[in-house]
Subunit: 217 residues, 2 copies
Amino acid sequence: VLWSPEKITGPTALVLMGHGGGLHKKTPAMADRARTMVAAHGFHVAAIDAPGHGERPRTAEDDRARTEMRVPGRFKEVSVRYMASIARRAVPEWQATIDALTRLPELGAGAPVGFGGGISMGTAIGVPLTAADSRVRAAVFGGGLFVYDDLIAAARRVTVPVHFLLPWNDEHAGREEALALFDAFASGEKTLHANPGDHRTIRWSGLDENFLARHLN
Amino acid sequence: VLWSPEKITGPTALVLMGHGGGLHKKTPAMADRARTMVAAHGFHVAAIDAPGHGERPRTAEDDRARTEMRVPGRFKEVSVRYMASIARRAVPEWQATIDALTRLPELGAGAPVGFGGGISMGTAIGVPLTAADSRVRAAVFGGGLFVYDDLIAAARRVTVPVHFLLPWNDEHAGREEALALFDAFASGEKTLHANPGDHRTIRWSGLDENFLARHLN
């Protein structure tokens, strides 16, 4: 999905949105955020279905992971393995998406790219993408996920400005893990923003709404 | 010191500023923040010297603490005891200051009061003040200090919106202690904002500049 301004008034930026686990590229809350960003900043905002999500077929591995996650006591272990697998597949897909979209005349090859979030699975994919692709110049990440060694290693290769959103009371994913992930970013400019709530019920307040505009424009 | 708008255009709020340890009520960085707040939001902003600071006499206890803090290995223990002592003395002084300032016609007895910061000693004083005085309706606190049991206990009595600023790499004061202090606030709305740096070198970015205005106006 590509959300674009009605009128193109000058050079603009491309913002990538990552949906959460089990959701898809047209998830209403994410679509609302995308429309708000287009209206407020004139960005082009893109979302794609993650591997095994939305309109895409599931592999045998996807089906197995979704079944095994429900086995009592195995959620974390299976979830970490599955997130890492999804991220490995999704990074080259996002890079191909950037290739295609920056061939559009309204964007162009030099268009700055931002990763607009979100938390949870969006971060599992967005961190290695941002580490791997220098076209991504600023990124919004967040907690609400289990943090694993490959994700920390990718965060250590991220040097662009990072805005990191932490649901302070997440039931599933440990606060300490999320803080370790924030700590790992090599970015000279990074902000941790936490509000009470878990990653499904969180009500964000006082967000830095101009973070991407400041770094992409 | 009281910084006030040149023109009073309607009902406004009183914001209290706390200076850091060893500093005083006219510390340039704090005075700059005060002037910015007056200009941006029309607040009246007040600062007072903390006990034993600025133009105020030092007690024998103040002198002893300042000497003992320099004894190798005793900094943390003496600092915690001294902060607690300063806070006990400063809370009634701030309450008397609110009493006096809300008798001014441009403020009035019902004027909303905010604690505008800062981190470090400002927080050691501001947290028990906010817990003790229901006129304080929103508060900016922060890390950069050792956290002790009485401070955590006061935080558990704070229910107003809190914006908490954490220098992520403070050399002196532990990050875990600051996170425990943030965790302790009973406020339904609270935000943790962290940027890299220690409490003297920190460069804040993407702050929620409208936090006090949103809650006091």
